[in-house]
C-alpha cells in the first residue's frame, strides 16, 4: 500500500514537473505596436512531429500543414484586433520590391542574432555590457532597407515546433509508471514538448525590439500542454507567445511615474 502511494506521489510529481514557461525581453524604449501599423511575418517556421516509442522525432507533413494554417489564421485574427495590417509570406520570392537574396540575407542575419539572444539572455551566458539595457540587439542596415523598400513598420520572425507523443510512447510511459509499484519507477521518459519563439524587429531602426520564448512540455507521455494541430491549440500558442507584449523598462518606469 505504501508502495502504491509512493508511486502515485512520484507520478503526480513528475506530471507537475511538466509545465508551460514563457520569458520575454524588450528594448527599454519598446511600446507594443498598437493602432495603424504594418507588420510583415517572414516565413513562419512550423514543424509538428510524432515521438516514436524509442524517442525519435518523426516529422509529419499533414500535421505541420494543419498547424501552420491554424497559426496563420490565429495570427491574422490577433493582429487585426490590435489594428495592424499584416502580411504573411511563405516563400522568399513573394515580397514585391525585394529580391529573394536580399530577404535571405536579412533572415539569416536575424537567425544569427536570435541565436545570440538565446545564448546571452536565456541560456545563462549573460553579458555584463548589456546588463540593465533590456534587449540590445540589432539586425542593422539590411532590416532598415527592407522597411524602406516595402513600407512595413515591423518584421516578425516566428518559430514553432511541437512534438506529439505517439501511442507507443504513451504506453511505454504507462509501463514505466506501472513499474513504480514493483520498484522500477520510470514514468518521466519524456512526452510531448513544444518550443516556440518569436522576435520582433523594428524596420525603421533595424533593432530587435522584443523577443519571447515559450516552452511547454511534459515529462510524462500522454499529458498535453496544447496541441498545435488543432485551431484551439494554435490560437493558444499565438496567445501565449504574442498575447501579452510588455513595454520596455523605460516606458514602464515612465508609466509608473505618472
Amino acid at each position: 500500500m505504501r508502495k502504491v502511494r509512493l508511486a502515485l506521489a512520484l507520478t503526480l510529481g513528475a506530471a507537475l514537473s511538466g509545465c508551460v514557461e514563457t520569458r520575454q525581453y524588450a528594448d527599454v524604449q519598446f511600446t507594443p505596436p498598437q493602432g495603424d501599423y504594418k507588420l510583415l511575418v517572414l516565413r513562419p517556421d512550423v514543424t509538428v512531429g510524432s515521438i516514436t516509442t524509442g524517442g525519435m522525432v518523426e516529422p509529419r507533413a499533414d500535421w505541420t500543414d494543419q498547424a501552420r494554417a491554424g497559426i496563420v489564421a490565429a495570427l491574422r485574427a490577433q493582429q487585426a484586433e490590435r489594428g495592424g495590417h499584416v502580411q504573411i509570406i511563405e516563400h522568399r520570392n513573394e515580397l514585391a520590391g525585394v529580391t529573394p537574396d536580399e530577404l535571405a540575407d536579412v533572415e539569416r542575419l536575424n537567425a544569427a542574432v536570435d541565436e545570440s539572444i538565446v545564448i546571452h539572455k536565456y541560456l545563462g551566458d549573460y553579458l555584463p555590457t548589456k546588463r540593465g539595457r533590456g534587449l540590445d540587439w540589432t539586425v542593422g542596415d539590411g532590416a532598415i532597407q527592407l522597411g524602406r523598400k516595402t513600407g512595413y513598420d515591423y518584421a516578425l520572425f516566428l518559430h514553432a515546433e511541437d512534438q506529439v507523443a505517439s501511442t507507443g510512447r504513451v504506453v511505454l510511459g504507462v509501463l514505466g509508471a506501472a513499474g513504480c509499484i514493483v520498484g522500477f519507477c520510470a514514468p518521466n521518459i519524456g512526452g510531448a514538448t513544444q518550443l516556440d519563439y518569436a522576435s520582433l524587429v523594428d524596420l525603421k531602426t533595424g533593432e530587435v525590439v522584443w523577443f519571447n520564448v515559450v516552452r511547454a512540455g511534459s515529462q510524462v507521455p500522454g499529458i498535453k500542454f496544447g496541441d498545435l494541430r488543432t485551431p484551439q491549440g494554435a490560437a493558444q500558442m499565438v496567445e501565449r507567445l504574442l498575447g501579452r507584449m510588455k513595454p520596455g523598462l523605460a516606458i514602464r518606469r515612465a508609466q509608473a511615474a505618472h
Binding site: 517556421d45 514543424t47 512531429g49 516514436t52 516509442t53 524509442g54 524517442g55 525519435m56 518523426e58 516529422p59 509529419r60 507533413a61 499533414d62 505541420t64 500543414d65 516563400h91 522568399r92 529573394p100 537574396d101 535571405a104 507507443g168 511505454l172 509501463l175 514505466g176 506501472a178 513499474g179 514493483v182 520498484g183 522500477f184 520510470a186 521518459i189
Partner: protein, 407 residues
C-alpha cells in the same frame, strides 16, 4: 545462493557479449553486394505516399530552399549545367527529377538529400581526374535515392530504437518485479543496437557503390574509375597523416561508411562484373578538364590554404600524373612556401622557376619567381619576372610595391 548464480551468469553474459562484439568487428568486412542485384526501387517522378516519408520530404523543402539560396553556391551556368547533365545521364529512372548544387567547400564530399537533391563540394572537383570519376561519385549519390536509403535507414533506426526502448523498460520493470538486476543486459543491448545501426549504414553505402558502378557502366563511363577514386583518397590520407607523423585511420565498428580499402576492392570486382566485353568505355578527361578549367586555380588555391601540406602535395602530384603544367607547378611551390620548413624556400623557388616556363603559368608564379630571384641576388632576372607579372596583372593590388622592388 541466488546472488552467486546471478554473478556467474552476469560474467558469462559479458564474456559472451565480448565474443559477440568481436564477431561483429570482423564482420565489418561484409560480403560484397553485386551490381546485378541493384535494381532501382523507384520510377520516374517519384512522390512519397507513406506518412513518415512525406514528413521527411516536407522537412527537406525548407532545407532545399535554404541550400538553393546559399551564398556558398557556385552559380556559374557552365559548371552547374555540366553537373546537371551528368546526373541526367547516370541518374537512372530519377535522372530528370534530381537537382544538383555545387558548394564552394574545399572538402572531398558529395551528398544526396532524401527528397532527391544533391550537393557536390568543390573539393571533389579538385580531386577528380576525369569525368568518369565525377560521374561515379554522382552515380553513387543517385544510388542512395534510387535504393530509397534515407527512408529505409530512418525506419531501421526507428524500429531498433523502439525495440530497445521496450526491451529496456521490460527488463527494468520485469527485473524489479523478479528482484533481478538486468542493467548489464540493457547496456549490452544498447551497444548491440548502436552497432547494428552503423552496420546498416555501411551496408547502404556498399549498395550505393554497387548501384553507382552499374549506372556509370550503362552510361558508357569506365567503371574502374570509381575504384581509382578510393585508391587516390587512401593515398591522400596516408600522405596527410605521414606529414603529421600520425597513422591513417582504418575502418572501425562505429563507421558509417565501409573502409576505403574495402570499397576500393569491392569496386574493382564490381567494375569487372559490369564491363561488357567489346564495349568501349570512356573516361572523358579532356571534356572534364576543359569544363573545370575556369575554376581550377581557385580549387588549388583553396586546397593549399588548408594547411595540410601532405595532402596538398599528394593531390598535386596525382593530378600531375596526367601531365605537369604551369598551374600545378606554381601551386606545388605554394605548398612548399606555406609549409616553410628548412629548405622549403629553395624547393618553392625551383617550382616557381619551373612554372614560369609553361605557357599557362599564372601571373602570381612570375611574382613569386621574381621574389625568389631577388633573394638569390639575381636582380636583373627578378626585374624581368616582375615586369612580366605587371603586364599580366596591370591592376594588381601590390603593383606599387612590385614597381618599388624593381627599383
Amino acid at each position: 545462493m541466488c546472488a552467486r548464480c546471478l554473478e556467474l551468469s552476469r560474467r558469462s553474459l559479458l564474456v559472451g557479449g565480448g565474443i559477440g562484439v568481436a564477431a561483429l568487428a570482423t564482420g565489418t568486412a561484409q560480403a560484397r553486394i553485386r551490381p546485378a542485384d541493384m535494381v532501382p526501387l523507384i520510377g520516374p517522378g517519384f512522390r512519397p505516399t507513406d506518412k513518415d516519408e512525406q514528413g521527411l520530404w516536407k522537412e527537406m523543402e525548407r532545407a532545399e530552399e535554404e541550400i538553393a539560396g546559399s551564398n556558398l553556391l557556385i552559380q556559374d551556368p557552365e559548371l552547374t549545367g555540366y553537373l546537371k547533365n551528368i546526373i541526367g545521364t547516370v541518374g537512372g529512372p530519377a535522372a530528370r527529377d534530381f537537382r544538383i548544387y555545387l558548394a564552394h567547400i574545399p572538402d572531398f564530399n558529395a551528398m544526396m538529400f532524401p527528397s532527391g537533391f544533391a550537393v557536390v563540394f568543390t573539393g571533389l572537383l579538385l580531386r577528380m581526374r576525369n569525368e568518369a570519376q565525377l560521374a561515379g561519385v554522382i552515380a553513387h549519390e543517385s544510388g542512395h535515392f534510387l535504393r530509397r536509403h534515407q527512408i529505409r535507414s530512418w525506419r531501421d533506426q526507428r524500429r531498433k530504437s523502439d525495440i530497445f526502448a521496450i526491451g529496456a523498460m521490460m527488463a527494468g520493470v520485469g527485473g524489479a518485479g523478479a528482484g533481478v538486476y538486468l542493467g548489464d543486459y540493457v547496456q549490452l543491448a544498447q551497444l548491440g543496437t548502436l552497432l547494428s545501426l552503423f552496420q546498416y549504414s555501411r551496408e547502404m553505402e556498399a549498395e550505393a557503390d554497387a548501384m553507382g558502378a552499374r549506372l556509370i557502366a550503362d552510361a558508357g563511363y569506365a567503371p574502374v574509375e570509381m575504384a581509382n577514386i578510393w585508391e587516390q583518397l587512401i593515398g591522400e590520407e596516408e600522405a596527410s597523416a605521414r606529414y603529421r607523423r600520425k597513422r591513417r585511420r582504418r575502418g572501425g565498428l562505429f563507421d558509417t561508411h565501409p573502409s576505403e580499402g574495402s570499397r576500393m576492392v569491392d569496386l574493382r570486382a564490381d567494375a569487372a562484373e559490369v564491363t561488357v566485353p567489346g564495349r568501349a568505355y570512356n573516361a572523358c578527361r579532356e571534356r572534364y578538364l576543359t569544363t573545370i578549367g575556369s575554376i581550377r586555380p581557385m580549387l588549388l588555391d583553396d586546397q593549399v590554404k588548408l594547411n595540410d601540406p601532405g595532402a596538398s602535395q599528394y593531390l598535386i602530384e596525382t593530378l600531375a600524373r596526367d601531365g605537369w603544367n604551369g598551374l600545378l607547378r606554381f601551386y606545388e611551390g605554394e605548398v612548399w612556401r606555406l609549409r616553410n620548413r628548412h629548405g622549403d624556400d629553395l624547393r618553392a623557388a625551383q617550382s616557381y622557376a619551373a612554372a614560369v616556363v609553361y605557357p599557362d603559368a599564372p601571373a602570381d608564379a612570375f611574382r613569386w619567381h621574381g621574389i625568389s630571384l631577388m633573394k638569390e641576388g639575381r636582380g636583373p632576372e627578378a626585374k624581368a619576372a616582375f615586369a612580366r607579372y605587371l603586364t599580366m596583372k596591370p591592376d594588381a593590388p601590390d603593383a606599387a610595391w612590385v614597381r618599388q622592388m624593381m627599383g
